[in-house]
């Protein structure tokens, strides 16, 4: 019984992180209407940038290192939009997607060039957790939950309680109409990239805190984030949140039935099931 409770707790924990990835991915999708294949690399670079600033030449403490890590990930997000996606905004989708895949591959191997392919951790010593209702949790894991809650509140405030958030929602509903009413679309798109990259960075760091760092971590989490946004309804930020938590739970509970080697394939399996059972979910948001 306590094993199941523990799996549920771990699932929620992973779900929180996936939710952050999925929310960022779906936001860019809403505004620019394409799946950013390089979103996984923002996750991975966010985590590695923190590693960089906590590591050799800098030796910043975690809270200080967070600031440049966040800043540079946002720059990376804005940079990929400015250099690659902006010139391609008016071309066909295939061109855009291949370019996004190219960025993803470029950044992934860039990380591998600097840090190598081996697993790394932030090097915190593992502290003994405390037990609550037969569930053991560590300080890191509490931090993950609190950070996710914090991010969700910030996203809510930005989207629904600020002018720029209103503009973002307007642009995603109808770009032309938003332009006509005097909304600065460029500024809004920039803002979207900032939130999306920041969420990816925070999520990546939390994931690395909970597990480890590895150049391949971006790609696999892109698939999970995508499964989460499909579950929640494409373009729906809160749907992405629930989708992410659901994927996290499903993944960790599946370990009770199947080999852990396949844990990462659960998200894909759910995606296929969803498509077979409820393809209409997607047709609704096709255009």
């Amino acid at each position: 019984m306590s094993y199941i409770l523990q799996s549920i707790f771990n699932g929620l924990l992973a779900g929180c992180i996936y939710a952050l990835f999925a929310m960022g991915l779906t936001m860019v999708y809403r505004v620019l209407n394409f799946v950013n294949f390089a979103h996984g690399e923002l996750i991975m670079w966010g985590a590695y940038l923190l590693y960089l600033f906590m590591g050799d030449p800098f030796h910043f403490p975690l809270y200080v290192a967070l600031i440049p890590a966040l800043g540079f990930t946002i720059l990376l997000g804005l940079g990929m939009d400015w250099i690659v996606f902006k010139p391609l905004r008016r071309t066909n989708r295939l061109t855009l997607l291949i370019a996004a895949l190219g960025i993803s591959f470029f950044l992934r191997n860039g990380a591998q060039l600097f840090w190598g392919a081996e697993l790394r951790t932030y090097g915190f010593e593992i502290k003994r957790g405390w037990r609550l209702f037969h569930i053991s949790m560590t300080a890191n894991q509490m931090a993950i939950i609190l950070a996710t809650l914090g991010c969700i509140i910030i996203v809510y405030l930005l989207l629904y309680r600020s002018i720029i958030g209103k503009a973002m929602r307007a642009v995603s509903d109808n770009l032309e109409l938003a332009r006509v009413t005097g909304i600065n679309a460029k500024k809004t798109i920039r803002f979207t990239w900032i939130i999306s990259s920041a969420l990816a960075c925070v999520g990546g760091i939390l994931l690395a805190l909970d597990t480890n760092l590895q150049p391949g971590m971006g790609m696999i989490n892109l698939v999970k984030a995508f499964a989460a946004i499909l579950l929640g309804g494409v373009g729906n930020v809160w749907g992405a949140l629930w989708g992410g938590i659901f994927i996290g739970l499903a993944e960790n509970l599946s370990v009770l039935f199947i080999s852990t080697g396949y844990k990462d394939s659960i998200a894909f399996g759910m995606m296929v099931l969803l498509l077979l059972l409820r393809p209409r979910v997607l047709y609704g948001s096709q255009e």
């Binding site: 470029f106 992934r108 860039g110 060039l113 696999i220 498509l275």
Partner: protein, 292 residues
């Protein structure tokens, strides 16, 4: 001389692989980002069967059928998706298939890989030496080229191109776009499987690490560089890129560079993909009728 033969064998294998992707991506407009999966299915099927003393000719046929069958299975759920979703679904499929190769140790020996895959024997003729193997791959490349050329120039090919340009119009003309897209993926998967079979019996050792996203990117780059939606584009792209990749291997660079060289080369491929998309999305050879 051996280097030269090796180079051409690789160019031909990747040409077949690229031509199969070109049918799906170039002509039908499907974003298959997990094409390596079918290459892998072909490779593993043929390797496992021949290692269990099944004659090559039979293994060859079974491998192609298996690739096509998995292409069919994957396409049913994922072709319901719009372009970018299909891309992610295939990407995910590629990653998961690699997990299967890695985890089903009883079948694939997992990360240790399968050594000692026999050279192909067809009609009691053994393709063991490099020149013999080159003839085999060249012959099959020509066969693939001709078959795909017939398909592309047939009404089926026109329908596929129609789907790429405007699916709604094709549906209004009474074509079942979903069925045609499945056909495209199945045919593409069969030829990807063929490339996989040829590759596996050439290297005689395979492991899950050979079927990663990097291979998909390479073949994608081949198609895009050569010119997607053209008959000669994939051959051209394969020639340029494989020549570049394989000759790096024979430059006798110090081994300690390897740690940096591999990611650097991949970065160049990624960067080239971005560059091509921004400045020359049509590639080296331009599709007829696209020259505007």
């Amino acid at each position: 001389m051996d280097l030269f033969l090796h180079l051409w064998i690789m160019i031909f294998i990747y040409s077949i692989f690229a031509m199969s992707l070109n049918l799906e991506m170039g002509y039908t407009g499907l974003f298959n980002f997990g094409h390596i999966a079918f290459f892998g299915i072909g490779a593993y099927t043929s390797a496992l069967l021949t290692l269990h003393q099944i004659p090559f000719a039979l293994a060859f046929v079974v491998a192609l059928v298996a690739s096509g069958f998995f292409g069919f299975l994957l396409s049913i759920p994922s072709l319901r998706l719009r372009g970018d979703y299909f891309g992610i679904a295939t990407l995910g499929f590629g990653e998961i298939l690699r997990m299967v190769f890695q985890n089903e140790v009883w079948l694939t020996k997992g990360p240790m890989g399968l050594p000692g895959i026999p050279k192909p024997i067809l009609f009691s003729y053994r393709f063991a030496t490099l020149p013999q193997y080159l003839l085999l791959t060249m012959g099959l490349t020509i066969v693939t080229f001709l078959i795909l050329r017939i398909i592309i120039r047939s009404p089926l090919g026109r329908t596929l191109r129609g789907i790429r340009e405007d699916e709604i119009v094709l549906m209004a003309l009474g074509k079942n776009a979903f069925h045609f897209k499945i056909k495209s993926v199945v045919i593409g998967s069969v030829f990807a499987g063929l490339a996989g079979v040829l590759w596996t019996h050439y290297t005689t050792f395979i492991s899950p690490g050979d079927f990663t996203l990097s291979e998909t990117i390479l073949v994608l780059l081949i198609v895009v560089l050569g010119g997607k939606g053209t008959e000669w584009g994939p051959l051209m792209g394969a020639f340029v890129l494989i020549f570049f990749q394989e000759s790096l291997r024979f430059l006798k660079l110090p081994t300690e560079w390897g740690r940096y060289l591999a990611p650097l080369q991949q970065m160049i491929f990624g960067g080239l993909l971005i560059f091509l998309m921004i400045y020359r999305p049509e590639g080296l050879i331009r599709e007829k009728g696209e020259g505007r």
